[in-house]
């Protein structure tokens, strides 16, 4: 059994969450720089240059990249040979998030769904667990904004719809979202599983770096096909037109019931704040 002290998880995760709010990941920043060079429309170039300037300012001044510092989402993969000593892992992750959001002057964005009363400390964190084999602990963290999350959808297609049906659903979703989710966006697509599993696949797809090519060549080509179709919509940065509606499309796939074809689209704004920590 490998023992990991909960204090170590707390300090590392608090630091990572603080960084996430103010530091745009390198792959995302590079994709925006590339898009800036590729755009010819003045309005598209202007938006992208503001985003690059914003990223630099946030990194240097420690002001959050976006006022929507988001819901704190964790995906935890915990090995069956790991024992966490001290505080319960859910409590540690929550405490790391709460303290980071307070110390970093991040916005507290969660409320009761009926009274809409703010919980005041960004709780609860949304924590997912996977029990895996081995002695490592992996924690993925994402600060997910509400504007792009609101544009996300899940559907249960008939198997006859096939790839063409999936493609139509995804591209139409992006088209209908238009300027709302802060394009250029990143599109996470979950295909298969069940009604509950497909959105998890889609969300996890958003943790794949933009440069990551799917190991399955057929799926990698489908990701490129969707990215082309989405960028051909011409929505462009902030909906003002241009070549860059999406910076990337990532598809995660799982087998499904013979009667079903679940498809989920999780939209991520350009302020894609995600981190991976392996203990």
């Amino acid at each position: 059994m490998r023992v990991i002290n909960s204090d170590d998880i707390y300090s590392k995760m608090k630091q990572v969450i603080l960084e996430a709010g103010c530091n745009l990941p390198k792959d995302v920043e590079e994709a925006i720089e590339k898009a800036y060079k590729n755009e010819t429309l003045d309005s598209a170039k202007e938006v992208l240059s503001q985003l690059l300037e914003n990223s630099k300012l946030a990194r240097e001044s420690k002001l959050p990249l976006c006022q929507d510092t988001g819901v704190g989402i964790f995906f935890v993969e915990i090995g069956d040979e790991v024992k966490i000593q001290g505080e319960h892992i859910s409590d540690v992750l929550t405490r790391a998030m709460v303290d980071a959001y307070r110390e970093g002057y991040f916005r507290k964005s969660l409320c009761n769904p009926f009274s809409r009363k703010n919980t005041g400390d960004n709780t609860p964190a949304m924590i997912h667990y996977d029990l895996v084999k081995g002695d490592s602990l992996k924690v993925l963290f994402m600060a997910k904004g509400g504007g792009s999350e609101n544009m996300s959808r899940c559907t249960m297609l008939a198997p006859a719809a096939g790839w063409e049906g999936i493609k139509e659903f995804v591209v139409k979703r992006v088209a209908e979202s238009g300027p709302n989710p802060c394009p250029p966006i990143i599109v996470g697509v979950g295909i298969g599983g069940t009604f509950d599993y497909a959105p998890i696949l889609a969300k996890k797809a958003l943790f794949r770096p933009l440069g990551d090519r799917h190991p399955d060549e057929d799926i990698a080509k489908k990701e490129e096909e969707l990215l082309d179709a989405i960028n051909n919509l011409g929505i462009g940065p902030m909906g003002l037109g241009g070549k860059t509606t999406a910076l990337g499309v990532k598809i995660n796939v799982k087998e499904c019931h013979i009667a079903s074809l679940p498809v989920a689209v999780n939209i991520q704004c350009h302020s894609a704040r995600y981190k991976e920590v392996i203990f």
Binding site: L57, L63, L65, C66, Q67, Y105, G147, G178, M238
Partner: protein, 179 residues
């Protein structure tokens, strides 16, 4: 496309010269309100109560800023998605609201109200909250403090950069997706 420097409160004359695509740099006092604050504003109107700020000629910024770090008037402060305020916006335009600032599409009802009551919808760059906050020189909570980030704030802005998305003539800047 023109660039206009406008000072609040705005007049009909200010609004009538604006066309979709124009750049508008706003200076003066603007007010923040988003989902929960809009609900309360409309409830106040329905009860016949006075609003926490003068609505005639006003500009409302759809934003829920991050808390101010030491030495700054406000934290990060970019626009939120505007459609969520669509159920409330026509009533406010009718009472004299001249411009709302946000991001994303508006409903036909809001566009109609803007044409009827001479108002515009301005877009600011979503996700550029750190950068936009540099144009905010002062901020104070005016009402609904219990709403936290959703409280109504009075902001003093200097050349706050916006684009005219919807004008009074039915013009719109957003492109229609080529499906």
């Amino acid at each position: 496309m023109n660039t206009y420097k406008l000072k609040t409160p705005l007049t009909d004359e200010d609004i009538l010269k604006l066309k979709a695509g124009d750049v508008v740099l706003i200076s003066g006092i603007i007010y923040t309100a988003r989902d929960a604050a809009h609900k309360r504003l409309i409830e106040s109107i329905n009860r016949g109560e006075e609003l926490p700020f003068p609505i005639q000629g006003s500009v409302i910024y759809y934003v829920g800023p991050t808390p101010p770090p030491p030495g700054r008037p406000i934290g990060s402060a970019g626009p939120t998605t505007s459609y969520r305020m669509d159920p409330y916006a026509p009533t406010l335009y009718k009472l004299g609201l001249k411009a709302s600032i946000g991001k994303g599409k508006r409903s036909d009802e809001v566009k109609k109200a803007m044409q009827e009551y001479k108002g515009v919808y301005l877009g600011a760059t979503g996700g550029a909250g750190a950068l936009l906050s540099q144009r905010i020189k002062d901020a104070k909570v005016l009402a609904y403090e219990d709403l936290g980030p959703e409280a109504v704030r009075e902001l003093v802005v200097e050349d706050f950069p916006t684009l005219v998305i919807n004008d009074v003539y039915g013009g719109e800047l957003y492109v229609k997706p080529k499906l």
